[in-house]
Symmetry: C2
Subunit: 456 residues, 2 copies
Amino acid sequence: MEEREERFEHMLELVRSTLESGDPARLRGALSEMRGADAADVLAALPEEQHLPLLRAMDRELASDALAMLDEGIARQILSRLGADEIADLLDPLPSDDQTDLINLIPPEHVPAVLRRISREDYEDVAELLKFDEETAGGIMAREILTVRRGLTIQDVIDTIRKEFKDVDHIQSVYVIDANETLLGTIPLVHLLVEDPGRRVEEVMDADPLTVKVDTDQEEVAAVFSRYDLYSLPVVDESGRLAGRITVDDIIDVIEEEANEDITMMAGTGDEEFWERSPLRLSRARLPWLLTGLFGGITSALVMNHFKASIESVLALAFFVPVITAMGGNVGIQSSAIVVRELATGGISIVQTGSKLLRELKVALINGAVIASVLLGIVWLWRGDPKLGLLLGTCMFAIILWATVLGALIPMLLKRVNIDPALATGPFITTFNDILGIVFYLGIATLFLDWIGRGP
Amino acid sequence: MEEREERFEHMLELVRSTLESGDPARLRGALSEMRGADAADVLAALPEEQHLPLLRAMDRELASDALAMLDEGIARQILSRLGADEIADLLDPLPSDDQTDLINLIPPEHVPAVLRRISREDYEDVAELLKFDEETAGGIMAREILTVRRGLTIQDVIDTIRKEFKDVDHIQSVYVIDANETLLGTIPLVHLLVEDPGRRVEEVMDADPLTVKVDTDQEEVAAVFSRYDLYSLPVVDESGRLAGRITVDDIIDVIEEEANEDITMMAGTGDEEFWERSPLRLSRARLPWLLTGLFGGITSALVMNHFKASIESVLALAFFVPVITAMGGNVGIQSSAIVVRELATGGISIVQTGSKLLRELKVALINGAVIASVLLGIVWLWRGDPKLGLLLGTCMFAIILWATVLGALIPMLLKRVNIDPALATGPFITTFNDILGIVFYLGIATLFLDWIGRGP
């Protein structure tokens, strides 16, 4: 990472100093070697008041790319300060998916003015894309597609591309359609180079291409890309008509986003953390999870209060409450995190549910036996009497078994009822396990209190 | 997910029944419509004794693809039962990176026999690739590259491709090199379609292409792909000579792998969980983390024992230990998970360290104040006296502050000294926070014991 960071620091310093010295020629020089992603990071690292001057000093392509790659929060903020003409101008070079994403960030009252200013063709694409949920195939696809009819030759297609598509960087495949725009097949663009120019498109196309529907969830789309090593994928509507295409660069964002979602869910920090800078909004995302933990903790205190008499008679019972709760939490997270990721990356199918549960149960039996024995040994040594150790070891073994199995089972159940399985790794479950663990432990201890108490 | 799962179930059932009925023609029919990834999943779902018969019923391309896409554990197991001739035959259609990955799974004593049986050219590529660490650019790149010399025209390049490269699916770019094999520039393959055939390659190439070095870490390579929306990336050695190329489909695997690593680290389950089926090995991966938690718990018990006198005089002090430890753990994970993912997905740079810490501190101040007040209120109501509540609230506020800041700071520090920052989200830190929290809480409580005790 170091080299890339150094290069970036250097770039940032150059921009900062030329912005301050107000030397437009040197600033343009500094910007000329930059790619969109770098320009976006430079913008993000500079104070707000320098955003617009810097953006306006970039040539339009760079400014557009930078805007498309900025964190949502900063892009939203910049867009709120630009005029409709300027926004339309910046949208122009972008593909329709990026245009749509940016339009979603414009203050709603300015959207009509911007839409009136973009080209007719762009307007139609954007209006179509705005209909879809952002987290579906329709929401991430673009409309820039190269379609041809049956009967054309490879040479015809090459001629069309030469005439109409100056910018082929966003195009990976040619789509063959019929008069109803139904997708018949696909031809990877590079195949045009090696196929006999006289052959017809229907002879060389893949006639059974993978597709996704407009309403397919983006996580499922990502799983298809990952599974079949794709570069692009056509999207069709309910009746099989071609609606757009998704390219792999957008899928990388989806995969990172979904992994981040699993992790923030696990950490209990809500969703939109990654571009957020406002402490108030961050606090609002995290507080509900902390409050859950707090009320769980208060419940634990009430449970302990309920068993007050037992604790008073054997004070050491209280000392082991943290180890009981920590272990239930730990093994629960271990098994649920694994199952959640297996579900997310498509590595598990329902047929395997039973075998995964059995696997987790076996692991729990081994780990439970080891941890329980070590705990028994230590407590025995410490107290010079095996009784409390035996009680603790037995409870620990039971808690490890059930927390592991629950940890694996709950995400699978959530998945079946279409709730995000990652919820099962979050503080709700940990808190639930904590309370159950304390009730179980102190309950058993109370039953055997006389027996423990009779020891030395 | 449901539709894909149903199709898969159907496919699996068909293969299973035709395998059992022993009807080779129907089996070949069932296999003919399958892609490599599907065949790999069917293999994984069937019992071991059916792996070889099924693999041998597939045509070679499909069998090769399936083998390359199998989980490492199953692939290793299948390769251990195949002869050197059969393995060499299966390796033949694969690109050099997949060949190398599979050779790494063959029992070491069989490797020389396999290497003797693959083509001269494949042997040279694989021997070169075997030199590199699996988690570096050199370890994930392939050697199938299309290189041309300066001075050639676009038409020359197209002619070369038509003559020599029947299979262009793995090729995304043409690389222009000089006599020393130094990389001069790249041309995306699709540009060949739109460029004037008479122009020379040096006129149309991108003369300042992004590259990575053979020893660049794969996580950094993935960050470059993600940042610049790339489809492929050339890899160069220390002296700038072209060594290979990486395509985006392999990067998707890297991104999923790295996210899984972060998550397993966070959950405390060691590394290689995802293809592992042996409960013993899984248990070995998870036990060290659980033992850490256990010894942490025992330490907590010792700490509580040390403050025995205080607890005996105000028993309720013990009741609130779980809420103190839970909250320290929760806020620590919240801030560390966010910072770890920001570091992993390249969204943070060192310049921002200060501002991220400040952001976390502000969030901690808000959340600490809210949680502490709620806790104070509840304990006051419960006990009819504010003193214990005041003590608990104050401790809670302090613990939330330090756990949040530590949670954000430690991953950044680990990153600087080149240790995986995700370690900071694991059980080590949680355990450490637990103990520190209890010491702090009971220590303060003991200092103010008379004051609390004097209450009603």
